[in-house]
């Protein structure tokens, strides 16, 4: 077995938490159950990975099998990577039958015709997701297995999720190969990025609970409302306001869990407006700002701002449009003409 492959397998196993190693090796299926039985999973990871490499040696593993293990690791720990979303466009609207073999052949063909040194690996999952791993080389160097790009393509949709390697120059080639292989004619990057691949899917596939325009005539009891005041004499403490906020929140965000995003960024190029009495800045040029919101779970925290008294309800559409516009990067410019107070984002 090539020692670069051995080293790559060793390092990949080292990344896996000790309790998960056995399951992942089973999913990989390259080592037999009998071989797995011989492994001692109670020792330190360094030793476990050495033993795994030895077993792989017995089975003459090559880079192709090692790459599959890497895909399996990244499929489970996809949250460690930053994912961008791309949307492909068809010229016509023909519903073509998707042939996975044809796709793979065309994808590999397109990449290999441009770049000799490249490792391409595919793995299909039950939810129609095709995972593609590409390790990039140059005409003179073998592929760098430690900085691959990962692509997740759901064949029934025009969406592709890409976690790019640091070598950004390969991105155009990757995009080209995708549209050629999938019979689309164009691809564009959406302004939507997150570590949570599943949340990105929820957003573009519209799998999160959206605002249903149901009118509830009775005021809502319980649920999200604050615990009752300790003083029993206070009965109506802002209750109607709290209920109004709660209702508006439900309308805008929906009742179910929000897709998990970590940040939203707004580049503001709008005018600074103030009370003329204050005698401050009155420039004809935009007041340039960059605003970034970050949170372990951005949409949930935005949803809780109005109930906490930190924001007006309804919350600004700039924030609430994130899931249904499927973007978390915005450039906001002043809308000229009729509605000076409203904003346009290209």
């Amino acid at each position: 077995m090539d020692e670069t492959v051995a080293e790559y397998i060793r390092r990949t196993v080292l990344k896996i938490p000790r309790d998960e190693i056995k399951t992942m090796l089973q999913k990989w299926g390259f080592l037999s159950e009998a071989q797995l039985q011989t492994l001692n999973f109670r020792q330190i990871k360094d030793n476990i990975s050495q033993e795994v490499v030895q077993l792989c040696e017995e089975n003459s593993a090559d880079i192709k099998q090692a790459a599959v293990l890497d895909i399996i690791y990244n499929h489970i720990y996809h949250n460690k990577r930053m994912w961008s979303v791309y949307q492909m466009k068809k010229s016509g609207e023909e519903l073509e039958y998707f042939d996975i073999t044809d796709f793979k052949k065309k994808f590999k063909g397109r990449l290999r015709s441009a770049l000799k040194n490249v490792t391409i690996t595919f793995k299909e999952y039950e939810d129609n997701a095709i995972w593609i791993r590409v390790a990039w080389g140059t005409p003179y160097k073998k592929p760098n297995q430690y900085k691959p790009s990962y692509v997740v393509y759901h064949s029934q949709t025009p969406y592709v999720f890409i976690s790019s390697s640091v070598l950004k120059s390969n991105l155009p080639l990757l995009c080209q190969a995708l549209i050629v292989a999938s019979n689309y004619h164009d691809i564009r990057e959406m302004e939507l990025r997150s570590h949570s691949l599943n949340s990105l899917k929820d957003i573009v596939f519209k799998r999160y609970s959206q605002n249903f325009q149901t009118y509830s005539p009775k005021p809502l009891q319980g649920g999200n409302s604050e615990p009752e005041s300790a003083d029993i004499r206070i009965v109506q403490e802002n209750r109607s306001e709290k209920e109004r906020i709660h209702r508006l929140n439900e309308e805008v965000f929906g009742g179910g869990p929000q897709p998990k995003l970590e940040f939203a960024q707004y580049k503001l190029e709008t005018m600074f407006k103030s009370d003329p009495k204050m005698g401050v800045l009155d420039k004809k040029e935009p007041f340039r700002c960059l605003v970034k919101f970050s949170s372990p779970h951005l949409l949930e925290s935005l949803k809780s701002l109005a109930p906490a008294g930190m924001a007006d309800a309804p919350l600004s559409p700039l924030l609430t449009c994130i899931p249904h516009k499927a973007r978390n990067y915005f450039k906001i410019r002043e809308k000229k003409g009729l509605f000076p107070e409203s904003f346009v984002s290209p």
Binding site: F272, V280, F287, V291, L305, S316
Partner: protein, 288 residues
């Protein structure tokens, strides 16, 4: 006032942790070398007691204590005192340099409010800035406390003071490209914590401040409030969020940046005296 930029270059672009220090009793500038020796012995003893846990090698710490004559505001101020801890190099050759592992300096820039009211045997250097491992800070601090009967306290910076800083520094004239004026807010008490970074183009921030500030060279609380209200209003117009209700935790400009935990970074020597003067003031109000 004319601070030699060469001598103060070491201050710039480092994150300094701030403390207020009560006046030092019977501190003699002539004895700096003795102090260095005593502090060195103290540190060696602390390490032998096992109180400072350093992983690995047996460390030999060299201590240097020096006076920075130019680092002061007025003639009434005491000159700054710099303490540096270096790792003695393992190699015996004379060319190998010791590695600086920790710096701390005491200073007073226009600290007259304090020094005027203090008896003769006391030296006023109310601001203490450190850079390096906390374990060293704690040893150096303990030795000074023991030797000069003084008291150290972490200097937190309130949102009010942070807004003073950002208003002041946003208005500074700088040559060359300036970085954005950034305010970082934290909203902790939500179901999921939220951080908001609000960065304004430096030219636009300065333009806003210039229309707010009425008297050059003078800044009033009123003006700072107007500046901040303008920023809050612009934000609210877009996002409907009341930024004034969030906690301002950090401000950052091309001149300097400051964090509410009492950490500052000074980026421009031109404004060094001004920044130090403000920090000295904060330190003094914490002491009094």
């Amino acid at each position: 006032e004319n601070v030699d930029p060469q001598k103060t270059a070491f201050l710039l672009r480092k994150a300094w942790t701030l403390y207020s220090v009560t006046p030092l009793y019977r501190f003699h500038r002539a004895r700096l070398r003795d102090y260095a020796r005593l502090l060195s012995a103290f540190i060696a003893a602390e390490k032998q007691k096992g109180l400072a846990v350093e992983v690995g090698v047996e460390l030999d710490i060299k201590v240097a204590v020096s006076s920075l004559a130019d680092l002061r505001g007025s003639e009434q101020d005491q000159a700054a005192v710099l303490v540096q801890l270096s790792l003695r190099s393992q190699a015996s050759s004379r060319n190998s340099e010791d590695k600086l592992v920790w710096s701390g300096w005491f200073c007073s820039v226009y600290g007259d409010d304090l020094s005027e009211n203090v008896p003769e045997d006391f030296t006023c250097l109310p601001l203490f800035l450190t850079h390096g491992a906390e374990s060293y800070t704690s040893m150096v601090g303990s030795w000074f406390q023991k030797t000069f009967d003084c008291c150290f306290r972490r200097l937190a910076i309130s949102p009010l003071n942070l807004s003073w800083m950002v208003a002041m520094w946003a208005g500074c004239q700088l040559d060359g490209a300036a970085s954005a004026v950034e305010l970082v807010f934290s909203v902790p008490r939500l179901s999921q914590p939220l951080d908001i970074s609000y960065a304004i183009h430096p030219e636009d921030a300065k333009a806003l401040w210039d229309t707010v500030q009425k008297t050059p060279g003078e800044i009033t609380q009123e003006e700072v409030n107007v500046f901040m209200d303008c920023l809050y209003a612009h934000f609210h117009r877009h996002f409907k969020i009341h930024l004034s209700a969030a906690k301002l935790v950090k401000v950052s400009t091309a001149v300097a940046s400051a964090h509410c935990d009492g950490i500052v970074k000074i980026l421009h020597s031109q404004y060094l005296p001004g920044v130090l003067m403000l920090l000295t003031e904060l330190a003094i109000s914490q002491i009094q």
